[in-house]
Amino acid sequence: MEPLRLVLSGAGHRYPGVDVETPSNVSAVIERGEKALLVGPVGSGKTTLLLLIAGLRRGSGRVVLGGDEGHAAASGRARPGVGFLWQNPDDGLFLPGVLEDVALGPVNDGVRRASALEKARASLESVGAGHLEGREVAKLSRGEKQLVALAGILARDPGLLLLDEPLSALDAHARKTVLSVLAGHPATVLLATHHGIPALEAAGFKTAITLPARRLLSATAPG
């Protein structure tokens, strides 16, 4: 898929029972193929913003993705062409076998079995996890699961990759592999992180969005 351009204009999300938005009033433009960072401390709303962009949370403001405007704010359904990597890889992995899990997306996109498995193998190889092909997900380390989860989203050829702290569970070698895969991938990338920014910037990422620390939340008093 062609890389997608992302435009955020005053985007925000308010959780039920809380009187401030987290994140709030976020505006940014991320060009096609750009490798961008979403930076902010823990609790600043990075994951929520990624979910909002993906279309899985409703919120305020405008989200325009490759010309598809307002979809996220209205429907609560995932936008086409978006790949999402969860901070905890267990949240994104679904099937017990590594190869089958990576092939799940292509199979549901209508790709035939043999081609889907071939795509899954290529995707695993691209993130340096080809040796995990025959393994069971439950028996992988957290870092290995993160690589498999990344292979699973790359197997669908997304135009925008939304990555939530993707490097936090990886060792130095796996980090280097993943960073080089992301830097060389044609898709637009928005990577959320709260640490390791110099290494990411050295790999070609630029800080596009900085979220402030969460303001003191005043929950609506019950009753």
Binding site: F84, W86, D91, L95, N108, A138, R156
Partner: protein, 214 residues
Amino acid sequence: MRTDPRVALLFGLAATGSALSGPAPALAVLVLSLGLAAARRIDWRRFVPLTSSIALFAFLIPFAPGPAAVAIAKGLGVSVAVLVAVSMARWDRLLAALQAAGLGRTATAFFAIVFSHLETTGRDASRAVDGLILRGGFRGVRGLLDSTSLLLARMLRRSLERADRTADALEIRGFRGRLPALGPFRLAPGDVAVTAAAVMSVAVAAAARMTWNR
């Protein structure tokens, strides 16, 4: 060693049908299933949820009136056969076999979500038990009760929290109720024993029916 899911399904269907046909076939299915479980080294913990039924069976059979004893025997035979059949192959492959046999996308998605959720919940529960033991839980009757209630409450809470994320993850990964299909069938040596057990269970049911008809 895993069994081909089609063979596991064959055993499950044959054994279930046989167990439902009468008490003698049900007992035969019970023995065959437990034999397969031992041969395949199926984790004994999978049978824990059935232990109360087995205890009930052992306790009640000598005192129960005929119909109740027959019902318990049939129920136990079916439960153990299904458990063994499901344990012999990975759940996604069993579902893929059912999908190939005509199971609809909605039903496939439903069972896939349930099995995936159960698998994760099981892993989470195992970690929680380890955590509680390391923190001095499960000691004495009071500790056992307290730790068990803590464990159940945590499992319920985590399960509900995860349900949202599972729904989001499946949506974003484009899941529409399709699982990767199975490869071509190749009979492995391990499948022969399971097929033989399926045939034997049907043979016992047929023999019992013929004996009654005399």
